[in-house]
Symmetry: C2
């Protein structure tokens, strides 16, 4: 029996296939992998601004378009891309075949515009791969049990990682306009360096902090199904960043990256009656108002009273305020305090689990810079400090220097 | 049991759904029928010039795009239209649902870009109609047994007539930019009148003469499955022309319409050896060269020699010439004569079957106008004369006057 070939799944976003030239370039990337004796499945998005244009077309005929029809409409964008990529590959002399979500039986639930994948039938995919085709699959779409077209929520697990899992691919290459994941945002910390490798958990923490690398559910999916995700540039052949399971050497790295989140507001309920069920009452009310709450801090200030504070995205701030004003008297709250002039600076690293003193290094760095900490929250692999917004960038840079995020991990003084 | 509702299938071409305003107008037409307690299935094409734009996109990445991928690409145009029409209908307060060819199991053969319909599964269609939905179906597309998307040849039987047949619809309304079928082209015979009714056979003869009313196979399909086809204007509510089976009163009408075809060339092989198989040799060679031959005339000129002449569309003229030059010596041909300066004027009417003297009326009309007839061909319900091109329009007008094609049929002096 022939040796089983490596399988690579490649994902190209809309900007990477925006015009004929870029489509040809994406086609060439697929061919390059194919020529190294790999089986190649490419997942592509709609070209450039096309999704936006289709949404505009829809709003012209219906200000509140039904979601089923929206999916029927928007799925055409990716369908166009994949057929064009297949044509470009054929033009270069290779066999190619494009598929819609429906054609590969990417079965989802029926939650239109944010469907979740239930199953993928890889039979046909494997057959055409074995026949020597490069396969191009329309991203972000599937079909429900009724044969209705669905689209996957932008924050949902994406088709590429799901396909890589279903095909047991050796790698899922995500082509983007950056060449990998950096220790920090280079626009703020200009000496930030690209990470060669990072764990799913670390990227998940970064994603939840808004560091926009990849959507959380894709990472979760990759973690669950052991898909090695390779974030790399669509403009160069350089290796990017591998997202993998935690490997032993990661433990020696105290901090893999640092992030800053500025699109935040803080709500503090002062002097809430300190009795069971009051916090639940507040957050149930916020959930009812569809407000998504981030970090929560509750502290007892006396036997009778407690303070409850939390952060929300600025987009939810108006709704959060309204909800809090409605509920505050019902929990005996003495006053509410809102802040919009904040930033949250975080450090992330699986090494924190086994190393003490990381929090202390961060706090003393901020103290040395005379940056006041409004509040602190932590997870097992993350420490976040809320600071004044106008001190946010300075705080990030200081923290990056302390943890030597301008150096590759093997060059840092604290790494064993 | 409730009385079975009437079913109407409506077909809208690309120009009738080219923008938001026209989409809303098409939506309103569907609603109007629905409000008269009918079940409505609309079949729509891609918006305006969209198919052309997609073809251009394809050619940018591949000058010779594979047909399967072309179908995958072009089918998106109609899918966009139908979802937008469904949205527009919902915006007007009615239930609507759009389907692709795949979703209604419009199964075709696998001849990409000119597939033919094999079967339609009306189960889901009927279900959603019974649930009170207006249904919008993407035209010109289907799916083969491999789940590959196909598109129907533009000259193929179209989805609307096929759906009307499958649903046993009461009528198939074809919305176009003209308000029906006329006795002659009003650009040439300005007094031409709209026909209220015409038979499938007559329209078939007109279509084969290039009168561009509807594609031949749609009419054949309608005839075979008893679909009443209503050609009408997308800009007005007026009744158009019904295409139906022949009804007894049509027999009294000598001529229903007259046409002129100018996109023709004539090829005459002079002095071909008059022996069995020579004509077959000529036409087999033309078929091999993919030349589509129209009317053929063969006449013996002596015991030894015969003349063979035929007409072809100008698009095929170069190929026809090449093929004839290749074959001519093999059939002992003494000379070939080509003409491009011709026009074919025809009269069509099922009444000819039972009335003598129609041909004579036509020939004497042309004689009176001093128009020379190059050649004559006939079918059971058609007489065609080839004349000099610069006399074509004059010939058409004269013939129209003779057969009173400026009057509704019941006002003509010769109609019993």
């Amino acid at each position: 029996m022939a040796k089983k070939k490596e399988i690579v799944v490649q994902k190209f976003g809309g900007t990477s296939v925006a015009n004929a030239e870029k489509i040809k370039r994406a086609a060439q990337r697929a061919i390059n992998e194919f020529d190294q004796d790999r089986q190649v499945v490419m997942v592509a998005s709609a070209r450039g601004k096309q999704t936006d244009e289709l949404i505009r077309d829809a709003l012209e005929v219906n200000p509140n378009p039904p979601k089923r029809e929206m999916d029927q409409l928007l799925s055409t964008g990716e369908q166009q891309t994949v057929s064009l990529v297949a044509m470009a590959i054929e033009a270069a002399g290779h066999k190619a075949i494009s598929f819609t979500g429906s054609q590969i039986r990417m079965v989802t639930d029926s939650v239109h515009t944010k469907a979740r994948i239930k199953s993928i039938d890889t039979k046909r995919l494997k057959k055409v791969l074995d026949e020597g085709n490069i396969v191009i699959v329309a991203g972000f779409q599937g079909i429900d049990e009724n044969e209705d077209i669905t689209t996957l929520g932008r924050g949902g697990s994406d088709s590429a990682v799901a396909l890589a899992a279903a095909l047991k691919a050796d790698t899922c290459d995500i082509y983007t306009d950056v060449d990998g994941i950096y220790t920090a945002d280079p626009r703020i910390f200009k000496d930030a360096v690209r990470l060669e490798q990072i764990s799913y958990d670390e990227v998940l923490e970064m994603a939840s902090l808004g560091a926009g690398v990849m959507h959380g559910r894709s990472i979760e999916f990759g973690k669950k199904y052991n898909v090695v995700i390779h974030v790399r540039s669509s403009m160069s052949d350089k290796k990017g960043t591998l997202i993998t399971h935690e490997v032993p050497q990661m433990e020696g790295i105290l901090v893999s990256g640092a992030t800053i989140e500025k699109n935040l507001a803080k709500v503090a309920l002062i002097g809430v009656d300190n009795k069971p069920g009051n916090a639940a009452k507040v957050f149930a009310h916020l959930t009812g108002a569809k407000v998504s709450v981030n970090d929560i801090i509750q502290t007892e200030v006396s036997k009778q009273k407690a303070n409850i504070s939390f952060t929300v995205s600025k987009n939810d701030f108006a709704d959060a305020k309204k909800a809090v004003e409605e509920i505050k008297t019902k929990v005996g709250c003495e006053g509410v305090f809102y802040r919009e002039d904040i930033a949250e600076v975080s450090i992330i690293g699986v090494g924190m689990r086994t190393h003490y003193g990381v929090a202390n290094m961060m706090f003393s760095t901020l103290a040395k810079e005379k940056i006041n900490i409004d509040s602190i929250t932590t997870s097992e692999i993350r420490i976040s400090c809320i600071v004044d917004k106008d001190q946010g960038d300075k705080a990030l840079v200081a923290v990056c220097k302390t943890f030597e995020l301008d150096k590759p991990v093997d060059k840092r003084s604290y790494v064993k």
